[in-house]
Assembly symmetry: C2
Homo-oligomer: 315 residues x 2
């Protein structure tokens, strides 16, 4: 029997990263899914080959970039140098109002009225503000470390006086009851996750054969994304414009740009540029050509992976 | 007697923004300093002319951008459209270990040993990690909403068992005792603050006459910075490279670039570009020329202020 692939995700169990990992890899016997307690632990698991893949959030369409992930990708200490991105996955974030047990009240409004305390992760309040201001104005709010943790707390409380805001997966995982689905303000609230692997690992080298979301059979027609990081001299006029012009010259469209402090000296940054293109027969050296040319303008240029756009895989 | 100018800062009292406001405007009778409880309140105070100036953090050299400030500058609802940047100020962030009263122990190490609980803002732990791991390994840590709040708590406790990590200003403000200064890991840990004003206000139109950090007597020789925001079509290849090339063409050097979700649709961004140049006699129309040209490539282009570099004022 083939060994199962080992996929870690940003925990705890039943987190949105867990959902993204299940959607991407499935949850049958061929996949061993396990949580990492922190972003850093997920990166270490890949660097040390304790996992084949890691699923971590990189960006939310409402809240923006996840800086913990950017800082680990920056790899300022050189401790995660073999960690690369091999896929991404877009998860629509849907929140539910969750209580410990099926309520005795027949009418939903009565159940709402008996709730006097709410639990969730700080980010989730802002994502459900319309629903909360309509039904729970002035009700006590308790921040907790994760939406899954919020359900763990209310699952022990069957009086119906406490409720959590979290995913359906978290309700299932903790055996709690979903009182109302889809309480998020924006139907298009989406989190993008990166799938990481070790660039030296053979076991994880063919990611698309493991993905439930698509295959690479018609890979050449699909858009490829690449992630490249570099530093520029703060004082060099136009250096960033020149760097971005290199991507344009090679036919690559920028899909995002982020910067983080270099931590070498104040106001010097590491830039992360994500770009996409549809590969042609003779552009195998595209990324290495770009890196070579970038190297004449910037320094510390690194390729952090190339992969097929997650939305193209689903389509 | 001339009316005093009204300067609000991101509170509470004795916050780092308070320190930046004192450094920038002084604290004599001509200045009325008062805290705003939130970033949004500081912006509203400027928009509604309830304050002449507001001092808020925009970026820390270790932790990166302050997204709350970027989101308010984005002004997606059009509720702060008259708020502009008119100065910036760089504050070296120095942390102290603070206790409620002068310790009875003669030796500092003995005072350290009697501490069994520490309080500070979550960001400060990471800025003092070396000192903490040397002297306070395994000691309980309590997160609080601000470093000033941490001092408020320990100031009531004179047994020497609780300590706060905060600024000297916070210790003075709450009548607490500084046990050790300069416990931060990096001597160059710096926060940059923006000074905001209402673009329609006459009272606040000559910022440099109010600043303690410098004057505009030799303004023409000093570097001016400008902040411009715009949106680009996600699908337009090379649009960001083209936009940045406009700045370069007009001789402006980019000093930072940030993006935040547009909240119009997922994966569309508002970009914030900060750039600098030394003005020449005939470049009065420089920024409006750039905005005009940017408008042919991007949309929602806005100028959010031009000012003399805070480091140039001090120099």
């Amino acid at each position: 029997m083939k060994d199962s692939i080992r996929v870690t995700f940003l925990g705890p169990a039943a987190s949105f990263s867990h959902q993204a990992a299940i959607d991407s890899f499935g949850k049958d016997d061929s996949v061993s899914l396990f949580p990492s307690v922190s972003f850093a632990e997920a990166f270490s698991a890949i660097q040390n080959n304790d996992a084949d893949y890691a699923v971590i959030p990189i960006e939310n369409s409402t809240n923006g970039s996840v800086v913990q992930t950017l800082d680990l990708l920056a790899d300022r200490q050189g401790s995660n140098e073999d960690v690369i991105v091999c896929a991404d996955y877009f998860l629509t974030v849907q929140h539910c109002l969750i209580v410990g047990a099926r309520p005795v009240n027949k009418h939903k409004e009565d159940s709402f009225n008996s709730i006097n305390k709410l639990y969730t992760h700080p980010q989730a309040w802002g994502q459900c503000e319309k629903f909360l201001s309509q039904h729970f104005r002035g009700i006590e709010r308790q921040d907790v470390s994760s939406t899954s943790k919020a359900v763990e707390i209310v699952a022990k409380e069957t009086s119906g006086r406490e409720a959590a805001i979290a995913s359906k997966l978290a309700a299932e995982h903790h055996g709690a009851f979903v009182l109302q689905e889809h309480i998020e303000d924006r139907a298009d609230n989406t989190t993008r996750f990166l799938v990481l692997r070790n660039r030296l690992s053979k076991q994880s080298s063919n990611i698309t054969s493991f993905l439930k979301t698509g295959s690479d059979t018609d890979e050449p027609k699909k858009k490829r994304k690449s992630l490249i990081s570099f530093m520029i001299e703060h004082s060099a006029p136009g250096a960033l414009a020149d760097a971005l012009a290199v991507f344009k010259k090679h036919g690559l469209n920028l899909t995002s740009i982020n910067s983080r402090p270099s931590l070498i000296r104040p106001w010097q940054y590491i830039f992360f540029v994500e770009c996409e293109h549809v590969p042609t027969a003779n552009d195998e050296t595209c990324i290495s050509d770009i890196l070579k040319e970038l190297g004449t303008i910037c320094h510390a240029c690194r390729s952090i992976g190339s992969w097929i756009d997650g939305r193209d895989l689903i389509a």
